[in-house]
């Protein structure tokens, strides 16, 4: 362990920065602590909401844009913006709308198992959630809903991009699991914004008992050494065990070493602004936005996944007692006239629109923090997506919105449309025309964030009529 006169843990980072835990404003409102001389780190935030979207109210019909291609967003007149994307009009230059991606791995998974003589969980919500961020087959569990079958993209990005001694990633919010540290293991999640805030600012002062601060500092330094010993022990104990057990201990050792580093790391690099204040007001998702902004601005983590819960209809002005899933989501698709109702579509637009407003609040928070030559948002990729494409459970034509450019690596100010030019066999005898795989979107994110690799998850699926569809490589249209 490296001794440092600036020894502190992530729990005391803010104290080390000379910032108290009370009485200060939200990030950005005090002008922040921009450090323009250092290139800001690139970050990613995943904002995940349930029930997909309402296609007619989401996608944009834009002049000059055919079945595939892209156009500039900021030049679009306001009347061309769809109801669900209109809240982002003023952020057009920092926005990328991606239309037409699909999830071939999930489509093929259902197709492969729809006649399985077994109790596979083929509920699209369940395996949609398990698959969304892993891009591998879910892990089936007897008598239980399926769960992620591999590590999720946020964990991969977090591990590769985090600063030494900081959280590799954070998962916040409520609802179903999407983020996984390994097959069958959900990432640790904090469900209360206040607890997340306390994690950031430190729950208590380090011990000052005994001989005073010098003694406390000595104990703190020794705690880091204790962690180093524990990590070495985990590495040693793994020898001779089976593969799964050995991998578990190796992961444990790495996590302990990361924690050890947090005791030694000093504030450096680019910290945009760090101005904590707990505010318990506003909608819960907006509280999370403040916590996320704080965590990113203080460089306590560079990867966050925020899981939005199902909403009580009365929260958003829908009739009390309405079941959003049954009464609205399932009936909101005009392409399925046997179930479609205008009332359901309106209700679902209101439902998704509420999340759009929350997403906009998150973007505004990030954009209010000056950093380098721009703002925190400019150096972040903020991705809005859902476990399904629509309320009727489609796994193609995914609605994906990306804000921020990951420090100019992502091509913002674009509406990108992909052709649905690959026919895939779906479950129950159906076929769908699918666009490029979401796997490739994740690879694009990896490259934008400087993470090497050209694949994530399953690498190919069979096409109808023979041949395979590749799920590898980045989508060049998304990258600068």
């Amino acid at each position: 362990m490296t001794k440092s006169t600036n020894e502190f843990s992530r729990r005391s980072l803010l104290r080390a920065l000379g910032v108290g835990a009370a009485g200060l404003a939200l990030p950005g409102l005090l002008g922040g602590r921009a450090r323009a001389q250092v290139e800001p780190p690139r970050r990613v935030v995943f904002f995940i909401t349930p029930h997909g979207t309402v296609w007619n109210a989401w996608h944009m019909d834009l002049a000059g844009l055919g079945p595939s291609g892209s156009v500039t967003l900021s030049s679009q007149p306001s009347d061309r913006w769809s109801p669900l994307l209109a809240p982002f009009g003023s952020l057009a230059r920092k926005l990328m709308v991606v239309e037409g991606l699909s999830r071939p791995g999930a489509i093929e998974y259902e197709h492969a198992h729809d006649r399985q003589g077994d109790a596979f969980d083929l509920n699209r919500h369940d395996f949609g959630q398990a698959h969304l961020m892993t891009c591998v087959d879910p892990l089936q569990r007897p008598s239980a809903t399926c769960i992620g079958g591999g590590v999720s993209i946020d964990q991969v990005l977090g591990a590769a991009t985090s600063a030494p001694g900081r959280w590799a990633s954070r998962v916040y919010g409520q609802g179903h699991p999407y983020s996984f540290v390994a097959a069958g293991e959900e990432s640790p999640r904090v469900t209360d914004p206040r607890v997340a805030y306390d994690d950031i600012v430190g729950m208590r002062a380090p011990s000052t008992t005994g001989a005073g601060d010098a003694r406390a500092r000595a104990i703190r330094a020794a705690r880091a050494r204790v962690l180093g010993r524990a990590a070495a022990e985990a590495e040693r104990l793994g020898v001779g065990l089976g593969r799964l057990d050995r991998e578990k201990l190796a992961r444990h050792a790495q996590l302990v070493r990361d924690l050890e580093a947090s005791f030694a790391a000093a504030p450096g690099g680019a910290v945009a602004s760090c101005s904590p204040r707990w505010v318990a007001e506003a909608q819960a998702l907006d509280q999370w936005s403040r916590v996320i902004t704080l965590a990113l601005s203080c460089d306590l983590t560079r990867t966050v996944t925020l899981l939005a819960p199902e909403l009580d209809p009365s929260q958003i002005g829908l009739p009390p007692g309405v079941d959003v899933h049954q009464d609205y989501a399932h009936r909101s698709n005009r392409l399925q006239p046997s179930t479609y109702t205008a009332e359901a579509e309106r209700g679902m637009i209101q439902y998704v629109g509420f999340f759009a407003q929350r997403f906009r609040t998150l973007l505004d928070q990030l954009d209010s923090v000056p950093e380098g030559d721009g703002t925190l948002l400019d150096h972040t990729a903020v991705v809005w997506m859902s476990e399904l494409a629509t309320g009727t459970h489609d796994l193609h034509d995914l609605p994906i919105v990306v804000a921020g450019g990951a420090s100019g690596r992502l091509r913002t100010d674009r509406y990108v449309r992909y052709a649905r030019d690959t026919r895939l066999a779906a479950g129950w005898g159906f076929e769908v025309d699918a666009g490029p795989a979401q796997n490739r979107f994740y690879v694009s994110l990896m490259q934008a964030l400087g993470v090497p690799g050209d694949r994530f998850g399953i690498t190919s699926v069979p096409r109808v009529g023979g041949g395979t569809m590749s799920l590898t490589s980045a989508l060049p249209e998304l990258l600068v």
Binding site: V136, D137, A182, A183, V226, K248, W428, F430, G457
Partner: protein
């Protein structure tokens, strides 16, 4: 028509439901469930990513003849991290009387309700940070003043000579260290920690050396994991300390005490007599009560009533729905289990049929029996005959498997099928209408049963609901609170049903009859055996445990369903004393 169909009308959803229902209808009873992951799925190619796949594979029940040869097959024992419950109970054992404010630990990933599934118990950054923080807080709490230090480690006095300090540190490692790591430290581990202690003593001071050595012990993988060396040859016995940990975390959810460690160290666990004596002793310890209750909490989902969806009710009952009532409903379940297993008949039958109960004021009102004057006091009562019979007729199960306005026959039926009969059921298809059916405004009154029966009447629903509903309807005598009723909206309640497709298929008139059928069912007893094995093994028993399971099922039946005898039989099984094959 007042209700919509059970399934959305998209073709895909309907087909999915038909297929899913057909699957569960054909699955039959699965004794013990499948084994661990076998990897039928496609692995990703993300660096370092393990293979995904179905968790378990098919029927693991052996031909009975295959178990006649007397072969002893070791049970699977993957590396197990302490679950949150185990971790907290271990700390409580190690630091009796010490209370510190602790940060919340992230919840464990559950499998079939169980929190100790080895596959899903891994490390995470948040968990590692919390462990370190909690270790620090405990170590600081017992060393922060001379008085506290003296109480924790009497030899740690001011002014010790170096040799005396080293002896004191050795005492710490030989006592506390042995309990924390559930085994004596090896000579090299001991020397290493002694050297670390001495360095801290010289660089800081004695209390700090004690504090930091404690932290070392508590964040070590030897503390937070239950480590067992894999076997190198067939039939290789566990190290006695490894066996001691298996026993203590199964029977107590906490580490071996000194008596068990002493037995391990003196060869007392090397034969049947010694193991059986320790198990018998441990089952008499109060910690066994807590562990027994906690098994039932996980198996029977006692905490479900604490979910946010049960904070309120939209209908009235014989008593108001208050936070105090909800807390009492939750607490009663544990009280009932402990009372039945340890102070009552002790059988699975009694769990399913006993009318003994403990109530406070709120709960007494709900059950219509005389209770104490307030909620702080609990008294023993007998619940009304004909209205209550065992755990499934208590408000804990009934109210937690209800919607805000009425009971849910599907939720109640699925619970019985899955948890008590070990029948796997596919999740409802995406198109299933899960909202509680309601009578349309102005329409004539209808019973809850009538509304649900209409909801699930479609042929594509019946593949599953033919098994679910006749069980769930058996609980129609209980409203969303769990209060008894014999009429609803002025209409008589029909709570008749049957355990279709089981070994006890005769019709019953109500939940009392249903509970009696379940209590008589060999399938229920076999399922309970499997659930106990899962709790002990940290994984669903699979083909490797098939013969052991069969023997335990037979033994459980022979004892009349004595739960403690079953636990004793698992803990003393020869298979459980062998090293497992490493999982690759």
């Amino acid at each position: 028509m007042a209700t919509r169909g059970c399934v959305g009308s998209t073709r895909a959803a309907a087909l999915a439901f038909i297929a899913g229902c057909a699957l569960c209808a054909c699955e039959g009873v699965l004794l013990g469930g499948p084994a661990g992951p076998t990897g039928s799925g496609r692995p990703g190619e993300t660096p370092g990513e393990p293979a995904a796949g179905r968790d378990g594979g098919g029927d693991s029940s052996p031909p009975i003849d295959a178990c006649a040869g007397g072969e002893v097959v070791p049970t699977a024992a993957p590396l197990r991290r302490l679950s949150t419950v185990e971790y907290l109970r271990t700390l409580a054992d190690l630091f009796p009387g010490v209370t510190v404010e602790q940060p919340p630990l992230p919840p464990d990933t559950t499998v079939d309700g169980f929190e100790n599934d080895a596959r899903s118990l891994g490390p995470s950054d948040l968990l590692v940070a919390r462990w370190e923080d909690i270790a620090f807080r405990h170590a600081e709490a017992v060393t922060s003043t001379p008085t506290r230090l003296a109480a924790f480690l009497p030899c740690a006095r001011d002014g010790l000579a170096a040799s005396e300090a080293r002896a004191c540190a050795g005492q710490l490692l030989d006592t506390f260290g042995r309990r924390a790591w559930r085994r004596p430290l090896t000579a090299s581990e001991r020397d290493d920690l002694l050297a670390f202690f001495e360095t801290q003593r010289q660089e800081i001071d004695l209390p700090a050396a004690v504090e930091l050595t404690l932290i070392s012990l508590l964040i070590s993988p030897s503390f937070v994991y239950r480590l067992e060396s894999p076997r190198t040859t067939a039939g290789e016995a566990l190290d006695p300390y490894e066996l001691a940990s298996r026993l203590s975390y199964f029977l107590w959810q906490s580490p071996p005490d000194d008596a068990l460690l002493d037995a391990a160290g003196s060869g007392g666990l090397g034969n049947d007599t010694g193991v059986e004596a320790q198990v018998a002793r441990m089952l008499e310890d109060p910690k066994a009560r807590a562990a027994m209750v906690d098994f039932h909490r996980q198996w029977l989902d006692f905490d479900r009533i604490l979910r946010a969806e049960h904070e309120s009710r939209t209908t009235a009952s014989i008593t108001p729905w208050t936070p105090a009532l909800r807390a009492a409903i939750h607490d009663e379940q544990a009280r009932f289990v402990e009372r039945t297993i340890f102070d009552g008949a002790g059988t699975l039958r009694a769990l399913l049929t006993s009318r003994d109960a403990e109530v406070n004021a709120s709960l007494g009102a709900l059950y219509g029996v005389g209770g104490p004057a307030d909620d702080a006091a609990w008294i023993a009562v007998q619940l009304p005959e004909g209205e209550r019979s065992g755990i499934l007729t208590r408000a804990g199960f009934l109210a937690s498997h209800a919607h805000a306005g009425n009971g849910s026959p599907p939720l109640r039926g699925v619970f019985v099928r899955e948890r008590l009969l070990c029948e796997p059921h596919a999740a409802p298809p995406a198109g299933a209408n899960l909202a509680p059916p309601m009578v349309e405004s102005g329409a004539p009154a209808r019973t809850n049963r009538d509304l649900f029966a209409e909801r699930t009447a479609a042929p594509q629903c019946q593949g599953c609901h033919v098994r679910i509903d006749p069980v769930g309807f058996g609980f129609e005598n209980y409203d969303a609170f769990g209060a008894f009723r014999d009429s609803e909206e002025g209409l008589p309640v029909d709570a008749s049903g049957s355990l279709f497709g089981t070994d006890s298929p005769d019709p019953f008139a109500d939940a009392v009859g249903l509970s009696q059928r379940l209590a008589e069912s060999a399938q229920v007893h076999a399922c309970a055996t499997s659930q106990w094995m899962r709790f002990a093994l940290g994984a669903a028993p699979g083909s490797g445990e098939a013969c052991l399971r069969q023997r335990l099922v037979n033994g459980f039946a022979a004892t009349g369903g004595d739960v403690r005898a079953l636990v004793h039989a698992i803990a003393t099984a020869p298979e459980w004393r062998l090293r497992a094959t490493p999982i690759d």
